[in-house]
Symmetry: C2
Subunit: 481 residues, 2 copies
């Protein structure tokens, strides 16, 4: 994405609104929040990802001659506005939560402070990028949790929703905890481990399965994972694999990384039977890996049933987040700067009370229990509020306000989540490498209680509002209704 | 995609297998079929799409110096093989079913005839591209069917799985029957209609809703669709919209395309109430459009409940095909050329009998009922079989072979579906424009019986095998089991 100009990757209404503001000479500075409303897959958290691509997108924003010509051809834009666009670049501030962070609903993941025309243009691409990568990072973290320490490989490129979904999906999967991807382009672009062995077609292209295995072991003796289900897993595949491993051993080859891959049938049964056959032949350290329509639920069950698999290739269900293929992030106006330079909070009402937005210029504090280092709650506050960790902290549910708790001073500590990314149009943030982000994400996940990581009916972390923010919100609601 | 080099958009195992063949000096010509196993969303058919992007991908295939350097850095490829890759280009034949065609399970949508190293490399990208676009074109055709003549706009870019999913998803949505997209980049790239008006933020950025509407109508009097649900749809939004329409009328403006958009709440109830208010005010021709988590099922129900909506914006559920976010296409070896130049059929067995492949060099004939022009069945045959439409045609189910039917001579006609796309590495196919493909797709859908287009439990079209192909398949199965 670093070289792609995605300036026109926007909904037409962003441009029609921009022209509206242009015509009215109205370009006050505003604040938009990007946030999401509920965790994917009924989970207890999400992982944010995609900020690096948002940065590249913002840096590359400019309307080429071809873009201007195309917009002119639509016959809805004035020459004055097109002239403005031809000189467009982003001049605002952007704050973001670092990639790989654990996040919760209703928290601003990205906060854009910019003249309204600029803030409006970037809505669609920011949503597209963050929604996609956060979805896949979150899904991956669930699959990794289910695997309970086993390595997960990302194998989904062929079923991803287009090239980018494969490429950036692999990036997000690495952030979420995969140990590698089959996607070579993603490996090149993000310097992450790639892996892969052979397909059924390899087996079928030789006169028989043994010959196919034998040739493979000749070429790749140090990474010899043989696919055993082309004809019959237990009657043909595993015995032929054992024969080849034995021949390698007899030839004095040190078997380092070797084993089998199962890609069909019942993986619990087949892996146990294959394990017995391999062990009996003296190949106790042969790896048994598996693929075939895996997701966190099946993986969880296979582990419960003591499947003898230690390496998992996960494809379609991870790269599309099959049971929940969209993240649902939105981008909402939170405040407008008045002539005095103050941000006036704005709110969007909705028939559905969970869709009511949080007004104002906000930030987020994560509150950790000092003893365990685990997350106690998140607190959304106005950006200029300050807190003293030595004082008691009152937390209350913003909807059911009678649900309260007070954290004694010095029993907790706080960390601000939003960091400056662009200031006055200049990028001030250096994106870590994908593997650095993955490491940070691992640490982030360690701040979650196991109860929150659970796949089914997890404990939900509270995201509260500061008293001051809650009051401003209530006042706005009372005024509007 | 026309300028992007996606050569490394492949699974690593394609390259490790290629090196395996390279090392063995084994590069015989083979045939791979790309096909899918079941219709998305339990439907009765699918729509194929993506061939143009496959053509661009194949034309652009080449390993750059950077690509070779990257592959070298993996320490698994020999210099001899890397040298071969640096001169790589595609030299084979590709046959494909034209985009926008109605397709059924198990039919080869793309057939690749090439030296095995080349045929193997292109697997992943072909699957990625065709799987994605066919999925979205199919989903769109279902939504369009549910809308029963109303126009469907594609609004999903912000929830698409990355930029390409938005861009090529919009392309596929236009093929499947959308009348336009909000995605400006897709509009530019594929010369398809774009549309859009304004967001809630437009309303919120003015001192009140009326002022926001008024300003919008000043700028866009000819396309004035006002979003009425920011504060209260029936108490505030619709009355303010009517006030603005009345003022436009009073000012002598001819109201051409105007109306309201609903984006939350119960769309059946709100649209009926809004229709009453608009009609009462003399705005019988005001459009009522709607968005908000629509899919074919909700749209079908809203139409059944006589919702007064004639224009629909469909986002997330279409662009991700939410209830079925992957198409499931696969790419399987079907034949290997022997030294005499004949294609020897190959088959993959599976524990699951529906996963057994169809062997050999095949083509597909579509059989139409002469009287109605509707599809009677599809027939997969060897590529060199010929048929005489004046003779009786026996069709039988390839699994339940006792299910038979004989079509009397001259009561049917046949059409071959696969067309040459590349011959000896040269592209021989000219892709129509997206709007031409969309028109062709409309004609294609007219060859389906209504029973097959039904959203729930549709009638399934038979895809049969020729007697000759069925016999060869049985012989191979008997030999292997």
């Amino acid at each position: 994405m670093e070289k792609r100009n995605l300036t026109l990757l926007t909904d037409l209404y962003e441009l029609t609104m921009m022209q509206g503001y242009f015509d009215k000479g109205q370009n006050e500075t505003v604040i938009f929040d990007m946030f999401y409303r509920s965790n994917p897959c009924d989970g207890g958290y999400a992982i944010c990802a995609g900020l690096e691509q948002v940065i590249e997108y913002i840096k590359n924003l400019n309307f080429t001659y071809e873009d201007i010509d195309y917009l002119r051809s639509l016959n809805i834009f004035s020459e004055g506005f097109l002239n403005y666009l031809s000189g467009f670049h982003f001049t605002g501030d952007i704050y973001g939560i670092p990639e790989g962070s654990v996040i919760f609903p209703k928290e601003p993941l990205v906060k854009v402070i910019a003249p309204i025309m600029e803030a409006q243009l970037v809505e669609t691409a920011i949503l597209n990028i963050i929604n996609h990568q956060s979805l896949i990072a979150t899904k991956t973290s669930r699959v990794v949790f289910a695997a309970n320490g086993d390595g997960i490989m990302e194998f989904g490129l062929r079923r991803a929703q287009g090239p980018d979904a494969g490429i950036y999906g692999a990036r997000a999967a690495m952030i979420g905890g995969c140990v590698g991807t089959s996607n070579v382009l993603a490996g090149q672009a993000f310097d992450v481990p790639v892996s892969g062995t052979h397909a059924h077609s390899w087996i079928m292209s030789f006169k028989d399965e043994y010959t196919a295995f034998k040739h493979y072991s000749d070429i790749y003796p140090n990474n010899c994972i043989l696919l055993v289900d082309t004809y019959d897993t237990l009657k043909s595949g595993v015995p032929n694999a054992i024969r080849v491993f034995q021949e390698m051993k007899n030839a004095g080859i040190t078997l380092s990384r070797y084993g089998i891959r199962l890609d069909s049938g019942d993986l619990a049964y087949l892996s146990k039977e294959a394990r017995k056959l391999l062990d009996l032949a003296g190949f106790e350290d042969a790896i048994i890996s598996a693929s075939n329509d895996l997701d966190e639920y099946l993986l969880h069950d296979l582990k419960m049933q003591d499947a003898k698999i230690t390496s998992w290739g996960v494809g379609t269900n991870l790269i599309t987040s099959k049971d929940c293929p969209s993240f649902g992030g939105v981008y909402k106006l939170a405040a407008i700067q008045n002539e005095a330079g103050d941000f006036v909070p704005k709110i969007k009402i909705s028939e559905n009370s969970t869709k009511i937005t949080n007004p104002g210029n906000k930030t987020i504090y994560r509150i950790y229990e000092k003893e365990s280092g685990k997350i106690k709650a998140d607190l959304i506050t106005f950006a200029d509020e300050t807190f003293d960790e030595s004082e008691d902290l009152l937390l209350f549910d913003p909807v059911d306000t009678w649900k309260k708790t007070t954290l004694p001073g010095n029993s907790y500590y706080m960390r601000e989540l939003l960091l400056p990314v662009f200031i006055k149009g200049e990028c001030v943030y250096h994106s870590p490498s994908v593997m650095e982000i993955a490491k940070y994400c691992e640490e982030e996940k360690n701040t979650l209680w196991d109860e929150t990581k659970r796949l089914f009916y997890p404990h939900q972390i509270y995201v509260d509002l500061s008293s001051k923010l809650w009051k401003v919100k209530q006042d706005l609601l009372n005024k509007l209704s």
